[in-house]
Symmetry: C2
C-alpha cells in the first residue's frame, strides 16, 4: 500500500500525485461566491448591479472535482445546490447528503430512468430533456412511482451538442411535455461551452450575450405560452460573469474555477488561482537537454494538450507514453536530476482529476490530508 | 448502484460500458502463446526457426489490461511471468499470486524503494536501472533487508525515453553496478516503442532489427566483460514477431495484443482481433446528420485520436467534451435514434481501460460476468 504521513512536506509525497492546494481552492470558492451572492446577498447591497431583486444563484458543477468534501464547501459558501453530469455523480452527492441537484445531461434508457426515480426519493433532482420519446419514458416511470420530476428543457444555444433548438422547436417540445404528468417543467438550460475559452474578455462577453439571448428569449416564449419557467440556468467558469450578470438568468453552473487548469489559465479576466497540480519525479536522465518524469497519459489528460511545468522557467513537458513524460529543459539554469520532483499544471482539470483516486491535500507546503475523489470514473 | 444481470444481451448493458469480448481475447492470448511457445514448445518442433535451443519466452505486459484474471490466463497459456509498468501494478499482481514479475520502469525515491523491497519478499521482481545513484539507493535498501534484487540494465535502443545509451555507457554502468551487493545484474531491457505502429510489416521489421541489434550487441559486450546476462527482453505487440524471432532475445513483453485497439488495427500483419469495445447510447438527436452519444473524454482516451464506430459503415465519432461525443452519420443508411446503442473501438486500449472500473465481459452477445480492472489508476 502507498504510505503517507500527515504533515509531511510536499516534496516527500510519492509520485505521480494529484496535489490540491486547499488554501487556493478555498479562495477560489470564496471569490465565486462573492461574485454571485444570491438573493440574500443582493438584499444587503451586493450582487450584480443590473440584477435588482433577482440576483443569480450559484449551483456549481461538481463534474470537475467529483468530491463531496469540496461540494459541501461550495454549499457552505452560499451555493444553492450542485450540478452533476452523470447519474453516478448524483448518487455520490445524494449519499453525501446533498439534497438539491441538477443533472445537466439527458437521462436515456430504462436502467438510468430507474436509477433517477430511485434517487428522486431522497433529493430534489432536476433533470433535463430534449427529446419527446425519452421524456415520455421518464414521465411514465415517475408517474408509476408516484413522483413528479422537476424538469428543464435543454436548449442548444450554439454549442451544437445536446439540446432542442431555441424558439419554436423548444416551445413545441414544452407544449407536448405539459401533457406528461410525471414531469413538471420548471426551467430551461443552455450551455455556451464553445465560448468558455475565448481568451479576450470583451470578445467572450459579446459572444456570450448572443447565446444568453437565445436562452432567455426561449424562456420568455415558454412563459408567454403559460409555462412556469422559474429556472434559467447556464454558464461555465469562462462565462460566469456574463451569464451571472444577465437579468434573465437565474442560476449559473461553473465548475473549473475551484481548481483551474492551464487551459483556463490562458483565459483573460477570470481572477481564479491554480489550485491543482501534478507532482512528478525525474526517473531517468541520460541525455543532455531532456529529463524523463514518471507521469504520462495515465496521470495527466491530453485532450487539451500538455500540462505546463510550474515554477521552472523555460522547461516544457511533452507526453512520452502511458507513464512517461519528457521535460525539455534547454532553457533552464539548473537541469533537473534523477529523483528531483516537479510540479505540473494540468491542461484540463476535469479529465485529469478523473484519472486519480485521491487528492493529496496540501496547505502551506505540507500534506494536510488525503481525500478520495469519490465520483471518479462515474461515467454511467 | 448500477444494475446488471448475468446473461443479459449486450444491448441491455447500461452505458458507457467497457465491453470485453472474452472469446476474442482468449483467441488472441492463444495466438500469441502459439507464436512463442517457449523452450518446451521448441523442443517439440515448434517455435521460431532461427532460434534453435533457446526460443523466446513470453512475459506479457499487464499495463494494458491491468487485470489478474487476464494475467492468469496468459500464464496458463504458457507465459513465464508478467511485466508491469508501475509498482502499484506489481502489488496487484503479487496479491493475485503471481510470482515472477518484471517491472519495466525505473524505481526512484525512498517510498518506492521501500515498497519494492517489501514486495520482493513475496515474489521474484526484476527491476530495471539506468542511473548509478538510483541503483545505489536500491542496492543499499535491498542489502539492509538481506535481499539481492534481480536487476536489468534499461538500454535506450532509439526511443529516446528511459535507458542508458547502448555500448560503452551501458558497459560502464554495469561495471559500477557489479560492486553494489544488493543488486544482481541478470539482463538487459530495450523497448522499441517508437516502432510499434509502423503500418508496413516489412518496414517495421527492418527498423526493429536495428534496434534489436543495439540491444543484443550490448548484451554481448556485457557478457564479454564477465556479466551473466541471462535475460534480453524487449518487444511490443507491433514488434513481437521480429523481437521473438531474433536469436539474441530471450523474452518479449507485448501487452496490447490481448484486446487490440484502433491504432493497432492500422498496423499490418499482426493477426489479432479487436476484443475491446465501448458501448455508448445516443442521448440526443436534434440535428439531421449528427447524433450525440454519452461517451466523451472520461470514457474513451484521446491521446491516439478518436475511437472508431464499429459495425456502422460511414459513421464517424468526434469527441464533444468530457461526457459527450458526436456521431456524424451523413453516410449511413439508417440514422441512429435516441436510445440506440453503438459500439466504438477505442483508439488506444491502455489509456481507455485505465478510465474504467470494470469490464463487462461478453460471450456470444451476452453478459457473462463483470470483472474489476484491479490495477486501474495505479500510477505510483
Amino acid at each position: 500500500m502507498r504510505e503517507w504521513r500527515r504533515g509531511q512536506p510536499l516534496a516527500d509525497i510519492d509520485t505521480p500525485a494529484l496535489i490540491l492546494d486547499i488554501a487556493a481552492a478555498e479562495r477560489n470558492i470564496r471569490r465565486m461566491a462573492e461574485a454571485h451572492p444570491g438573493p440574500h446577498g443582493a438584499a444587503a447591497g451586493a450582487g450584480h448591479p443590473g440584477h435588482a431583486g433577482r440576483p443569480v444563484r450559484l449551483r456549481p458543477h461538481v463534474k470537475t472535482h467529483k468530491t463531496p468534501l469540496l461540494a459541501h464547501r461550495q454549499l457552505a459558501a452560499g451555493a444553492i445546490g450542485v450540478t452533476c453530469a452523470k447519474l453516478g455523480e448524483v448518487e455520490i452527492m445524494v449519499q453525501a447528503g446533498i439534497r438539491d441537484i441538477l443533472l445537466s445531461s439527458e437521462v436515456v434508457g430504462p436502467a438510468k430512468v430507474g436509477r433517477l426515480v430511485a434517487l428522486s426519493r431522497h433529493a430534489r433532482i432536476h433533470t433535463v430533456v430534449d427529446d419527446l420519446g425519452a421524456a415520455t419514458a421518464l414521465s411514465e416511470a415517475a408517474q408509476a412511482a408516484g413522483l413528479r420530476l422537476p424538469t428543464l428543457l435543454d436548449v442548444d444555444v450554439g454549442q451544437g451538442r445536446t439540446g432542442v433548438l431555441p424558439g419554436e422547436p423548444a416551445l413545441a417540445l414544452a407544449q407536448a411535455l405539459a401533457r406528461r404528468p410525471g414531469l413538471e417543467i420548471v426551467g430551461v438550460q443552455g450551455y455556451e461551452g464553445h465560448l468558455q475559452h475565448i481568451a479576450d474578455p470583451g470578445a467572450r462577453a459579446a459572444a456570450c450575450q448572443k447565446a444568453l439571448q437565445l436562452l432567455v428569449e426561449t424562456a420568455e416564449a415558454l412563459r408567454a405560452a403559460g409555462h412556469d419557467i422559474a429556472i434559467v440556468t447556464t454558464g461555465g467558469t469562462g462565462t460566469h460573469a456574463a451569464a451571472g450578470g444577465h437579468p434573465g438568468v437565474t442560476e449559473i453552473q461553473p465548475g473549473s474555477y475551484v481548481v483551474m487548469d492551464a487551459q483556463y489559465g490562458g483565459v483573460g479576466g477570470l481572477g481564479f488561482e491554480h489550485a491543482l497540480f501534478l507532482l512528478t519525479t525525474v526517473i531517468s536522465k541520460t541525455r543532455p537537454d531532456v529529463a524523463i518524469v514518471d507521469a504520462g497519459w495515465k496521470s495527466a489528460s491530453s485532450d487539451a494538450g500538455a500540462p505546463l511545468v510550474h515554477g521552472t522557467d523555460g522547461a516544457r513537458y511533452v507526453f512520452a507514453g502511458d507513464e512517461h513524460g519528457r521535460i525539455h529543459h534547454e532553457a533552464t539554469p539548473n537541469p533537473p536530476r534523477v529523483g528531483d520532483k516537479l510540479l505540473l499544471v494540468p491542461s484540463h482539470c476535469d479529465t485529469t482529476i478523473n484519472l486519480h483516486d485521491v487528492y493529496y491535500v496540501v496547505r502551506d507546503g505540507r500534506l494536510e490530508d488525503v481525500w478520495p475523489i469519490a465520483a471518479r470514473g462515474q461515467v454511467q
